[in-house]
């Protein structure tokens, strides 16, 4: 736990002169990280696919051929067109259209944007809360520590999808019906984050316990560094590596959880379908032969999660021998 390998150094020695310092991009290109990435083709492909997903989805308004949620641009005459390479399909709609004539590719990009947003936000929120609890538990010890860790234990004994479902079910019961559609995204983010925080709390607590009695932390303590900046500035950096690994693997899980929740119909409202909801909508057309409505988002989701997983595996092998 304590003897982690050294941080990736920049391979190029920085020039003494300020003017000759290579640019950020050049430095990144020469780093060990990129060096090793270039030598494992699977991880490289996965990283590129993930990156492509990010760019395409977050830039959906720029890249999507249509704006599927604008009724003015949608025509029922184009409904249920097959993908372009099949007879009857048109290149105007590369992956075909759904029952309302909306372009599947565009819906994928817009839906993927929400999926990715929920994934990132849930991981961010879960990690932030988990880190805070872990730091506090490790530093304070005592009753807070045992209560928090006991709660984490209880939570970890339940699968996270189930927990997220519970929380979104409770949120549905607690909030007025009209509010659901507006805050559906945040219910999802909160539910997935609430299911995830114990992992971060455990790792960070362990690292805090280990660091608490180390000399440099003691030195900072006696020299009067306030507790908060001591924890954030001196203790936390040592725990960031496993946190990063958990977060990468967790991103794939968060995206899957969101998709699962939306698939069973307790996620996003039908007006803002994510990948999971698109598969759900498409399932009813499976039997009448319009397979593309549901299989396209299914393959999109598979490609996204698979590439995040492959990249995450590589990152874990490389960064965290303790996390293996």
């Amino acid at each position: 736990m304590t003897d982690t390998p050294p941080l990736p150094r920049a391979a190029a020695a920085p020039e003494p002169s300020v003017h000759a310092t290579p640019g950020r991009l050049a430095r990144l290109r020469q780093s060990d990280f990129v060096y090793e990435l270039e030598r494992s083709p699977g991880a490289l492909i996965a990283a590129l696919v993930t990156l492509a997903f990010f760019i395409l989805c977050f830039g959906a308004p720029l890249f999507a051929p249509h704006t599927p949620f604008d009724p003015a641009t949608v025509s029922l005459r184009d409904s249920l067109l097959p993908p372009a390479w099949i007879e009857g399909g048109r290149w105007e709609f590369p992956l075909g259209t759904d029952d309302q004539g909306r372009d599947i590719l565009s819906m994928l990009l817009y839906g993927g944007r929400i999926s990715l947003f929920v994934g990132f936000a849930a991981i961010g929120l879960g990690a932030a809360f988990g880190i805070a609890v872990g730091l506090a538990a490790g530093w304070l010890g005592g009753l807070f520590d045992s209560l928090a860790m006991r709660l984490a234990d209880i939570q970890l004994s339940m699968p996270d999808v189930m927990l997220a479902l519970f929380i979104s079910g409770i949120a549905r019961a607690a909030l007025p019906r009209e509010a659901h559609a507006d805050i559906a995204v945040w219910i999802l983010v909160f539910a997935i984050a609430a299911a995830n925080w114990p992992q971060y709390a455990r790792v960070v607590r362990a690292a805090t316990l280990a660091a608490r009695d180390l000399e440099y932390v003691q030195a900072a303590r006696v020299s009067g560094v306030p507790v908060l900046s001591l924890l954030v500035g001196h203790v936390l950096p040592g725990a960031l590596r496993p946190v990063l690994v958990i977060a990468t693997v967790g991103l794939a899980f968060a995206i899957l959880s969101e998709a699962a929740l939306s698939f069973v119909g307790v996620g996003m409202p039908p007006t803002q379908p994510t990948l999971g909801a698109l598969i759900r909508i498409g399932n009813s057309y499976l039997f009448s032969g319009e397979w593309w409505v549901s299989l396209s988002p299914a393959f999109g989701l598979l490609a996204l999660v698979l590439s995040v997983n492959v990249f995450g595996d590589w990152l874990r092998d490389r960064l965290g021998p303790s996390a293996r």
């Binding site: 999808v161 189930m162 794939a252 698939f263 498409g282 399932n283 039997f287 299914a298 698979l306």
Partner: protein, 331 residues
């Protein structure tokens, strides 16, 4: 004795967990949502609403309701469903066989096939078949249950109509109340696609764990010694190595079972399988709080029991834990 104290310790933890869950379930029942709003349509008069309220026991003071909640729960009465207006326990018991049969089939698929492939992958790490299967397992882990289900339905119910796409088929009632689909041809056929769908998700996990465990063991000294003694490769792998490599499989099986119960929610939605999961999803959509609370209690009871059994088995099987040194404890 160490085993006994471990057991007592775990049992106390389990009870504490259940108490927390029961409190949580009560708080949920007690605070959330006005069921009358959910159930009563616009045609209900104020008097009708009051009558409904009294019928559901929502007028009583909090303390009375808490006491009656605990007393009722101890008797196996977890309240009335808002949605069905029937005792929740009846609903759960009605749906339980469907879920259990699905989960058992899926567990058999994931542990049996997963362990077999995992052993093969460890014994022949460089063969092409191993590489293909590992890639397949990564896809299996990445492919969400509902997408697997969708693909399987498309392939084996739409394109090749071999298996039914939804439902449990014909069921037969055993004894007083166990509706089984295992005794009819259509019931067994209906189990195939959901069973594979649910099993596939966990299969990847079992496979990867078995593989890494087996590789570790195959590198160890006693295996090298067994080989040096001239034992056949078959006996080295299946008698010596497998015995110690399958130890963690107990824990994995426990996690696996919990995961299967959780993901049966989604599989049941895909296949419209009338089990606990579908009941729960409908309860979430309807904000049927008594069903949510009962399901929470029921499922945490299942999980706590599974964990307890796993811990006990682990203690029984692993002599290091039995001897009181915690070196072998996984968690």
């Amino acid at each position: 004795m160490a085993l006994l104290s471990l057991l007592v310790n775990r049992a106390l933890h389990a009870i504490a967990t259940m108490v927390v869950m029961a409190l949580f379930a009560f708080a949920l029942m007690n605070t959330l949502g006005d069921p009358v709003q959910n159930m009563a349509g616009p045609e209900f008069s104020a008097a009708d609403r009051e009558a409904l309220r009294a019928e559901l026991g929502l007028d009583d003071p909090v303390i009375v309701r808490f006491a009656s909640f605990l007393a009722d729960a101890a008797r196996g009465d977890l309240g009335m469903s808002f949605q069905y207006r029937r005792p929740v326990v009846d609903l759960l018991m009605e749906r339980l066989p469907g879920t259990l049969e699905l989960v058992i089939i899926a567990a058999g698929i994931s542990i049996g096939i997963g362990a077999a492939i995992g052993i093969y992958a460890a014994v022949r790490p460089r063969s092409i078949a191993t590489r293909l299967m590992l890639l397949g397992s990564l896809i299996g882990v990445s492919l969400p249950t509902f997408a697997t289900g969708t693909l399987l339905i498309f392939a084996f119910a739409v394109v090749l109509p071999i298996f039914p796409a939804f439902g449990r088929g014909e069921t037969v009632t055993i004894g007083c109340c166990w509706e089984t689909g295992l005794l009819t041809a259509s019931g067994l056929k209906a189990l195939v696609l959901p069973g594979i769908t649910l099993g596939l998700f966990q299969l990847g996990m079992v496979l990867r764990l078995m593989r890494s465990e087996m590789r570790e063991v195959l590198r160890s000294d006693f295996v090298r010694y067994a080989r040096a003694r001239g034992l056949s490769e078959r006996s080295v792998v299946f008698v010596h190595a497998l015995r110690s490599a399958s130890l963690p499989l107990i824990t994995v099986a426990g996690i696996n079972l919990a995961g299967l119960i959780a993901y049966s929610l989604i599989t049941e939605t895909v296949f419209q399988w009338p089990g606990l999961g579908l009941l729960f999803i409908q309860a979430v959509q309807f904000a049927d709080v008594p069903v949510l609370a009962a399901y929470l209690v029921f499922v945490s009871f299942l999980f706590v029991t599974i964990n307890l059994v796993v811990d006990t088995l682990y203690g029984v099987v692993d002599p290091r834990i039995r001897a009181g040194t915690r070196a072998g404890a996984a968690g």
